[in-house]
Symmetry: C2
Subunit: 277 residues, 2 copies
């Protein structure tokens, strides 16, 4: 995963594949490095990519040698749901599972933070998309002041070790942070308040979380810095444009799947030439 030959070079600075300082604030949420000139053309390209990804998923499912875990992180309204729809919406639901994580409850709170995560790993040939993830456990408690210093560093290490084990045993991991500006979040929250078809998405708690915007940006910066690894790299996706967000996520996924040399397994031996009666 460290080496992704078919990934466009202009995305290199948005990919963080080695632990070390990653300066999130230098990434412009309004940037559009994947754009090919104009929203209309980009939308067409997203749709084409979604269909290509469907073909690759079909091959991935048939091949059965790999498992794929896609992690989507980002602040409220950053477009996690929209990415699921726009990028994965053309694949057959047969081999794609989405897990939406919320704050742990009941038995989840009485075990280690990776217990519930491990239980949801994809099987052979499957693609699992995490809508939020175990990274909430190095964001929320950090902002709320319950996790810092050595305890936080230890948790980063636990995540890296866990992800390393997963990739060594056949799971490909790709992580995306959907990066929007504070102003874009304001606009989107206001839309949810004003549009009756979006009101169900509005959670009053989102306003409280928004007050800690800068704290969350720092917590994201630190988490990405510490957990971008060659086996499970982060991709920071400029996401003020929904079309660009989908375009970049789809582009990275396509390059990832293409790097796996997927193939349809051959007919079992002794069956060539058989006629069904």
């Amino acid at each position: 995963m460290d080496d992704l030959p078919s990934l466009p070079a202009k995305l290199a600075r948005l990919r963080h594949a080695h632990p070390g300082d990653f300066n999130l604030s230098r990434i412009d949420p309004a940037a559009q490095p994947c754009s090919r000139g104009g929203k209309a053309a980009d939308k067409v390209r997203v749709e084409e990519l979604a269909v290509e990804l469907d073909g690759l998923q079909n091959r991935f499912w048939a091949d059965r040698r790999h498992r794929l875990l896609v992690v989507l992180q980002g602040s409220d309204t950053s477009g996690k749901d929209g990415t699921v729809r726009g990028v994965f919406g053309r694949m057959s639901p047969l081999g794609v599972h989405v897990v939406s994580w919320k704050a742990p409850l009941g038995p989840e709170r009485e075990r280690d933070f990776l217990w519930r995560i491990h239980a949801q790993m994809p099987g052979n040939g499957e693609i699992t998309v995490f809508n939020r993830s175990h990274y909430e456990d190095v964001l929320v408690p950090v902002v709320e002041g319950d996790l810092r210093g050595k305890a936080l560093q230890r948790r980063y290490r636990q995540i890296n070790d866990f992800e390393q084990m997963l990739t060594e045993t056949g799971t490909v991991i790709v992580k995306f942070m959907l990066h929007i500006s504070r102003e874009e979040q304001r606009v989107r929250l206001q839309e949810r308040l004003d549009d009756p078809e979006k009101a169900w998405k509005f959670d009053p708690k989102d306003l409280e979380v928004r007050e800690h915007w800068d704290d969350y940006q720092r917590a994201y910066r630190d988490a990405i810095s510490a957990t971008g690894t060659r086996w499970a790299p982060w991709h920071v996706v400029p996401a003020d444009s929904k079309t660009h967000r989908n375009l970049m996520v789809a582009t990275v996924l396509k390059a990832t799947l293409q790097s796996l040399d997927l193939r349809f397994p051959p007919l079992p031996k002794g069956l060539a030439g058989v006629r069904v009666k």
Copy 2:
């Protein structure tokens, strides 16, 4: 569910919503009661319906008052995977889960046959599609001679009681039997043998199962007869035509979702007019 006002009248004889004799052999697998004149037009209609179902699923997900369980049964090559792709392939994977059931293994064999099934029920607003299901437990052991008479009748009752409890507590259940002819199965198995991109789907055991074709048809007839209920009706889908199969499944699903009077929940009280800072 007994009453589905918007379901086309011509589908009534393919719907079995009360326990009692259902004569499967009178259903022609090549029939196309949903066709509107020609394969090309039907394909366009399937695509339109898939997009309409995506809209309904979005509303279903937002509404959160219901859960939907779709059961797909049918012999090998009857098109269960293709139905998932053709009918559910346009929905966002966010709220759609597909569970592909195989023969029970390990801990599943050490518990009642509904244990693993119950664990996979959809949550509020979710759609779960069963690719095969607990109905395998009244098909395979029946054909293999391990289940008959009172024990079989008891299992039918257990299924009906289980499904009744599910529907009484908020789960809508729709069951489809994809009905193909013996000759159509021959053609499709041969395709899997001959086409390198389909070879991975070929399982030599399918040929053994095919030798018991008539036994399985009888087992299906008896199971449908006994477990078509007003709360969880069966729909027998003439499926020699893949396009017609998708057309009918999508039509029944649309009618089912429309009967639920889905709506977007309103904004929580006290939030109207709020401006985000």
